[in-house]
Symmetry: C3
Subunit: 273 residues, 3 copies
């Protein structure tokens, strides 16, 4: 089933407009190409509406937001909404600064998001309208674990119902929920946290999946999340003894490049609650 | 002959000022170092004239242009012109938005370019003063093919004659033309299109080649274009079965790092029309 | 001894706020993760004070400074000073433009730096209040050599005494000095100069080391500098014949990822003068 979503990406070659941070932007572009999509980056207020109009969807990542790019996020988001394009929000560092938290919350008020993807701290911040995160990593005390899984699933579903967006909370256990169903996904490797931008990459990838699978957003997001985790597993299996996090970054994108529907369907570890 | 141009780059170690996009900038810097040149990135209006003055040439890439960097492109371009430095234009996404098209066209009015390098859609946009591109990739219908080669060569020569710049149109078949002669280059691999920024990298590389080969611009651009395509072939030959587009990116730059004149002269596949 | 500093980084997982250039920012983030630290990038004037407040230290790199980020550097630096956090200055290209030189000098007036790390040309520029650099590389005529070592050590100590900062001058021979002692470090490979951003990476790494070793700044900086040079040696030893500078970049970060205290203590080549 998830493999069908992957095939749709390969067949439709979705063009994704990214307003994203300059830290991980190159990897976002390369993973979009790896999955079969195509990236465009544009963040100037005079450019974004034209660019988003020729794309299939929009990925907004606030990782290095600034006074110039924030208005562009709103303009592009509204234009995408008007065109009926899927829009994803990656609220990097929401909770870590007032600017990040307020910008993410205001975006959620003024733009209709198809997907919101973040770590548990970021999503909790958005749910609460406050909170704190340790940098851009999830607060360990707030991680989704087997012990708090029921409550976490309920939280994800409630957030999805409230926002109308598919909510993807990624970490050791990934949750992908709409108001009624939640994919609990157990792919991935802890070493993925030692690479900058696996979350940003996943947001780009997820946007491509949603664009290529209209009307099937929940499963599309689950497929993107599972494929990223599985790529982390495959990439790790391809590591030589002296390889470290920098090479691991390449091997994960390489694994997305080679992934097919059969591999994803066999390797995806998930349940639906 | 092309190998002689490569040797000039290794011997002269040209310093290249880049005003380029933040997506592929790291790869542009590394490929400039790989070929024997040296990169400087600077895009602030108060910084660019000083920086371009200590460099040998200027590479202007509009891939993530914005209100702050556009005036810097004009200021640096004019300063480079005044100093007699070669200047290259990479009109990324010309045709995809009004801002990109208008900025590229206005740059061509106010700055004298030594080289203009883009895909066929971008160059057609500049020739027409209008048009559309699908993101930053060439419109497939407009690709240079064996079937339309005569017309494409004529177009490139006419554009070169009109602008006074060497025109480099890159794709499956690459064309490098001045008003009278056109190199038709058949190096490269289709998989290069699955890496973000091979075009941006080539623009940086080309600027280094032109700086290091004064008075021999046409051949210098052809040498840069052929070396990039050949690096794509060599890099691909060095791929392991699990390697994908992210590793391929490294292998291409690595191939430029190791390339010598003999390798280029033996591997370059071109004719002059 | 140096290995103890490394262990402190692994144990304390320092969170480092980086205001750095967009050329090498991804590698800076990945090397911080590789050493056991955690990176945050933020450069907007409304964001930097909040972000630096939740971090342990601040890395200011002026490599692609602009009118928007310069005020952020001052604001973040002053906030970090008020909080007692270590702050590092990487004066990329000081001497290459008036804006870079003046910004670095003004930062030194208004912000108290714990460490200043650059090449010999940059540091000489800051010492003199003038000078020139060839791009971002050290002027070869001004390199630290065995022949001028005594004078260079005296210069580094004097600069440290004058500024109150640990001074790290990196090149073929690295010097790390406070007002009284100077580590002379002979790790590294000349090929490291063929990768963009080894200096920027070292500045990020050094900030993490200083944050994790309070009260032991001189040795912490020496440990960071030696570990980077040693990683360059280890990474080079892991190179395959077709690997070039792009792969070398990954291998160096990978070597930092795997480095432990024993490896560093055995491999570090230094004397204290």
């Amino acid at each position: 089933m998830l493999g069908t979503c992957l095939n749709q990406v390969r067949q439709n070659s979705p063009l994704v407009h990214n307003i994203t941070n300059y830290v991980t932007v190159n990897d976002v572009a390369n993973i979009l190409l790896a999955c079969g999509g195509s990236p465009i980056m544009s963040d100037d207020i005079q450019d974004v509406e034209d660019i988003t109009s020729i794309c299939g969807g929009l990925n907004i990542n606030i990782g290095t937001l600034n006074q110039n790019t924030i208005p562009s996020m709103f303009a592009a988001g509204k234009k995408s909404n008007a065109l009926g394009h899927p829009v994803l929000l990656d609220p990097v560092g929401a909770g870590a600064s007032a600017l990040r938290t307020q910008t993410a919350l205001k975006l959620m008020e003024e733009v209709k998001f198809t997907v919101i993807r973040g770590n548990i701290s970021e999503i909790k911040t958005l749910a609460a309208g406050s909170g704190s995160t340790r940098g851009v990593d999830a607060d360990v005390a707030d991680a989704v674990t087997e012990e708090n899984l029921d409550a976490s699933v309920a939280f994800a579903k409630a957030m999805a119902a409230k926002t109308g967006a598919v909510i993807a909370i990624t970490g050791a256990i990934d949750l992908v929920a709409d108001g009624e169903r939640c994919y609990v996904i157990r792919n991935g490797r802890p070493e993925m946290g030692k690479i900058t931008g696996t979350g940003c990459q996943l947001s780009g990838l997820t946007t491509a999946y949603v664009v290529a699978n209209p009307g099937n957003e929940l499963e599309a997001v689950a497929a993107a999340v599972a494929s990223m985790g599985l790529a982390g597993e495959i990439g790790w299996a391809n590591m030589a003894p002296t390889d470290g996090n920098s090479t691991y970054r390449n091997r994960i994108i390489d694994a997305i490049f080679h992934m097919d529907a059969e591999t994803l369907d066999k390797g995806a570890k998930y349940e639906v609650r």
